[in-house]
Amino acid sequence: MEPIIQLGYDLLPILNDLPEWIAITAIALSAAIILLIFIAVFALFAIWLERKVSAHMQDRLGPMEVGGWHGWLQTIADALKLLGKEDIIPTNADKILFKFAPILVFAATVAVFAAIPWDSGLVPADLNIGLLYILAISSLIVIAIMMGGWASNNKWSLYGAMRGAAQMISYEIPIALSLIVVNMSTGAFNMSELVRQQEGTILDWMFLRFFPFGFIAFIIYFVASLAEVNRTPFDLPEAESELVGGFHTEYTGMRFAMFFLAEFANMFVVAAIAVTAFLGGWLPPFQFLDFIPGPLWFFGKALFLVFVQMWLRWTLPRLRVDQLMYTCWKVLTPFSFAVLMIVALWMII
């Protein structure tokens, strides 16, 4: 039985009286809703954080007015504004696909959250091929972006979508290769198992194993994941200064909000994968720190990586398309191959 269902039964004993399928459905639904709420809240928080971080990095203050301390309600206000906006669909757009694309993006993003382990046993779905599952589901996002870009019937959107697809497919390769390094060393696809294999002190975490190759793999993963979620310096699909808004140029209101939410949720997802695969998941760096609960560790590490993503965004300018492809095919991919080979040899020896 899935640990999460066990957890559900433990938390709500009343479920024992109900037929099993109702109980399971109820638990699954509530888990999904909790995740959804978490995603929404996190996205709102992340947007606020991004604005604050960017502001402070540019010696500004950022939003200060709404909600008291440092404008913490600002994004909620923005969200409300977006929800209240008119839903415009361009006349010549392909209506079905246009409506469907943001849903697909959001659905894929939420689906990825299902396999992320928050603590030992606290996984919505403890799949035994969790890592592959995440990689697979993330590839749906590409299609959704293409769908949106195409359906908008706007050349900027289509450019953005094509760029996004090319970029995301390309960068999936270094991502997969660097994750295979982890996979090879731990012998597990299961996300919880990945973390359990890193038990011990900070030195047992993947990014410090096979020093420095584990670290190189981590860096490769991180850089490639930036491209995967279209963050600067790889934000070509939505390059504001060139493509107006990229694939979501024509989207307004709620639909735009979904894209936006998915983007920030995706930031967390790639950070969470990095944490699980390289940074020891919910484990504390040292044994004496284990009075802090696992989910907090997990969230803290992921949040730190999200912060690094923002930090990078406000440090680096956007790359050119050819530089983007050069980075992927001529730097990251060969390096990740080399790291893979070296780690394989290391393990054999």
Partner: protein, 166 residues
């Protein structure tokens, strides 16, 4: 009829219906996006067959790779200003006749053949088994497949290369 079965039939219906959209739609782009759901549906069916590795590979390769290729193909072979790409099609009648004929034959085969199927025996596979099998018993086909992939890679690069140097 428990939830498990209901969900199965829902997914099967999704698969079949989206496949039907692929077959009967006029817009090639709809066909491509409907193919997404067919492929995804197949992946879920694989999970029902306790072949989760295949399911994930299906999503990873078909959805993440082939489908995107097809989408690129569609988008690169149509004019951008023409969103609702309608493609000409052959007369539907012979297709329907052939389809119905084939389905009769297939149905005949399915229901008449006495499959020595065992009903509901526990069956699980794990990824390491598949890995060991590929690297052990099926090493030769694996190597052949990798050579084939390499050949396909080189071939398609050669074919799709722009011809400015000619």
């Amino acid at each position: 009829m428990d939830a498990y079965t209901i969900v199965f039939y829902v997914l099967a219906a999704m698969t079949v219906i989206s496949a039907a959209i692929v077959a009967f739609t006029n817009k090639i782009i709809y066909a491509a996006f409907a193919l997404l759901f067919t492929l995804f549906g197949f992946a879920t069916l694989y999970i029902y067959l306790s072949a989760d590795f295949i399911a994930v590979s299906q999503v990873l390769i078909y959805v993440g790779g082939i489908l995107i290729l097809i989408l690129f193909g569609v988008m690169l072979t149509t004019k951008i200003y023409d969103v609702s790409v309608k493609s000409e099609r052959n007369p539907i009648l012979p297709a329907l006749i052939a389809g119905i004929g084939t389905s009769i034959v297939i149905g005949f085969v399915i229901f008449r053949t006495p499959w020595n199927a065992v009903v509901d025996k526990e069956f699980t596979t794990i990824a390491p088994d598949i890995g060991n099998a590929i690297m052990g018993k099926f090493l030769l086909p694996f190597e052949v497949a990798s050579i084939l992939l390499l050949a396909a890679l080189i071939g398609s690069v050669l074919l799709a290369r722009s011809e400015e140097n000619e």
